[in-house]
Symmetry: C2
Subunit: 447 residues, 2 copies
């Protein structure tokens, strides 16, 4: 069985609380919202991602016999509760921003409305799925802003945090505008275009570099990208020039060379000159090695003649901001708005909507965070995506999501597009919501 | 099918290279070693972890019919190569440091010796498995050093990078000395003890906090840990004191209260006083919320009377060092030592062994990185764990691994135990290895 699909992929406290709800027959409808409390340093916006996996999870959630057995044997739960879990399904409603939507502090990107135990149990895995892809899509979007019109390829699987992280990073980076990923399984699983070149070991395994290049070109005649930094980058570029006519006779073109170490600006300039002098003006330069949006910007500003980039570890781990201060919080129960007052973590009560306003050129100018029942100007960003546990819309293809994400990025105001400077975006809180929080917190403090 | 077990969980270049090796009939034995190039800032040592999953992966690696179909349809590979992949198995030998071993820059923790295509294909997933658990075990070991004799529980699943990251983080933190995890599935999958309390939503769903506490205690009478910061921490502590006698009549003891926000030192001191005055001297204080080794040390140095800690996001993402500069590099092919000269990434050629020396008190005093064939003083850290694709030893239980990790941590020299100060550890390079690298790099530069 696929552990990633197990309902036990949750925190134990969800189950201990459920036992409490079960005994007290607390199953009125509850609303929970997922939002980010603060944007990390170095992020002017976030890009929502992970909804497809979240909805898939909710639709298929159930306890398998061996899982019930294990819970039973743990001695923590009553037999009646275990029987109840055997029939447990998610039958709630979900409202969400579509994947690829840009969002800001305190704006919910997803709301679950369901009988309390259902809305509660799913917290851990919902956060796990939405958080990670949002982290990665947001980082990838910054790479796209830093290197517009360049081919960007996700190279991060090996240092991603496990299997699912690697696969979902391939999905989230493509969604945010990358050209594809080196992770093969992301092809069949998510329709992400897959890219591959060669590693140093291929060169090392041969007695000489030229033979290695020749062998690789013979084996992959339609996709000849040669790694040239194993020993001496410029010497290898000269060997590429030497090899090219022999390959041309066999109908093989050298698509690109790859640089993976050293000063990439210097090497790219020298290699470009060597290739051009050798008549290989159509052979591109692809580069990798410790890249992220800051390094992409630096390379391009320095005039490095690089056509494409493999971006790996720092992207797939979102190294400068590997997590978000996000939460999935109860905002309503039994028809009454709810909040918590915990220091530094006060929440906005009630079911909320985000309205976004644009100027005539289609650029975003400001959002309003309001109660769902308020009537505000602008485009409402959340809409219903699940009813009674069933998705309300046909599944989108990932390339459709990607197109929308590109339109969303195009509407981003100029100051927020700068990857190096903090820029802020106006998110107003509607008066009705301010008033509700004030009244509710006074009432709770009196208790 | 479980995607985490798919052989397509690899980089495309492994397969394009394999097609080249296949066509050239390059299948002599190769040796590859996994090591870390540089320790990240804030790490005086690393703890090896992930070997069990790595060996399991190697033992079960094969191409499934639907995977071969997909590769065939991709149009990148020849039919003869696809047929070859259908029979592909890992039949190599593996040498490794046991999980829980402490290690340093350039020291291989694993060596694969196998026909070249076998040793090559497994690179991506081997790195993915060894890297992540090593990152997490190393971070968790620092938490253990910062809070000795305290109960530490992994709370990080929700912001771990996906399902496998959450599960393997539960495993790696327990291995490194944590008491357990809140991730339920880590129980049945890895025999990690599972812990759970309650969330704010449980309190919020009730009309008043006291009733919420009462209901939770009734549902989980053997494990009453009450979260007291939803509205007003000290007021809630007073309610706990009020509730205690009524629960005692029903034979229920309040094991602990949990703090999750605000100034934890202040709150813990005030709550301790309230509980003690109310006669609840046996009720512990458990704390969570943005913790890591630095914060654990700060809290304990400030005298916070806290008995246990839930450590989450910053641990499971290893927030201050979310990745390692690690590599899996070819060191030998066809009986000849190999290396690369890429700038800043020169490798040590040949099959290597790490020898560790101890003083009379059992404390580590220095390591030697040497060729396997050298004869050095000290304990050799790598030994054979797989022969011809089969594990050579019975599987260890995770608690055995954990015991070994604790013994290894106990042997760590004092300067390296300081989580706040950089400390260095002597790793000598044996003369034979220095000489080999010198000779080989001269030969390669002449080429």
């Amino acid at each position: 069985m696929d552990p990633a699909r197990s309902v036990l992929l949750t925190d134990l406290y969800q189950l201990t609380m459920l036992q409490g709800y079960f005994e007290q027959r607390m199953d009125e409808r509850a609303a929970f919202e997922f939002f980010v409390r603060n944007l990390p340093a170095g992020r002017n916006f976030l890009m929502a991602a992970g909804l497809a996996q979240a909805l898939d999870y909710l639709e298929h959630l159930r306890f398998m016999p061996e899982e019930l057995d294990w819970l039973n044997r743990s001695g923590r739960f009553t037999p009646a509760f275990i029987d109840y879990l055997a029939e447990f399904r998610f039958r709630g409603d979900v409202f969400a921003m579509p994947e690829g939507t840009l969002f800001f502090t305190d704006e919910p990107i997803l709301r679950v409305v369901a009988p309390l135990p259902q809305a509660q149990l799913v917290e851990s895995r919902l956060i796990n799925l939405l958080h990670f892809q949002t982290v990665i899509a947001s980082k990838a979007a910054r790479c796209v802003l830093a290197a517009p019109n360049k081919l960007l390829v996700d190279f991060g699987f090996r240092r991603a945090h496990g299997a699912e992280a690697g696969l979902l990073a391939a999905r989230a980076t493509y969604l945010a505008g990358f050209g594809g990923s080196s992770t093969v399984l992301a092809g069949p699983m998510y329709d992400v275009p897959v890219f591959g070149t060669m590693a140093h070991s291929f060169v090392q395994a041969h007695e000489d570099e030229l033979t290695a290049f020749d062998h690789f070109a013979s084996a992959q005649p339609d996709n000849v990208v040669l790694l040239i930094d194993t020993y001496d980058t410029e010497a290898a570029a000269a060997k590429v020039v030497e090899l090219a006519p022999r390959l041309r006779e066999r109908g093989i073109a050298i698509k690109a060379v790859r640089l993976d170490s050293g000063d990439l600006v210097d090497h790219a300039k020298r290699v470009r000159a060597i290739l051009d002098r050798g008549g290989l003006t159509e052979t591109g330069i692809f580069s990798s090695g410790s890249l992220d949006e800051y390094e992409l910007q630096r390379l391009l500003n320095a005039g490095a003649p690089i056509d494409g980039f493999g971006v790996g570890t720092r992207l797939d781990t979102s190294a400068d901001a590997p997590y978000l201060d996000c939460a999935y919080k109860m905002v309503e129960y039994g028809g009454e708005p709810r909040m918590k007052l915990s220091e530094g973590k006060i929440t906005w009560p009630g079911r909320k909507q985000v309205y976004r306003r644009y100027d005539d050129a289609g650029e975003m100018v400001g959002d309003t965070l309001a109660l769902e029942t308020d009537d505000c100007a602008g485009e409402p960003l959340l809409s219903q995506v699940m009813r009674n546990g069933r998705q309300t819309r046909p599944k989108e293809s990932l390339s459709e999501v990607r197109d929308r994400a590109q339109r969303r990025l195009a509407a981003l105001p100029e100051p927020l597009r700068d990857i190096a400077k903090p820029g802020s975006y106006p998110v107003e809180i509607a008066p009705g919501l301010v008033l509700l929080r004030q009244r509710l917190s006074e009432r709770l403090r009196r208790h």
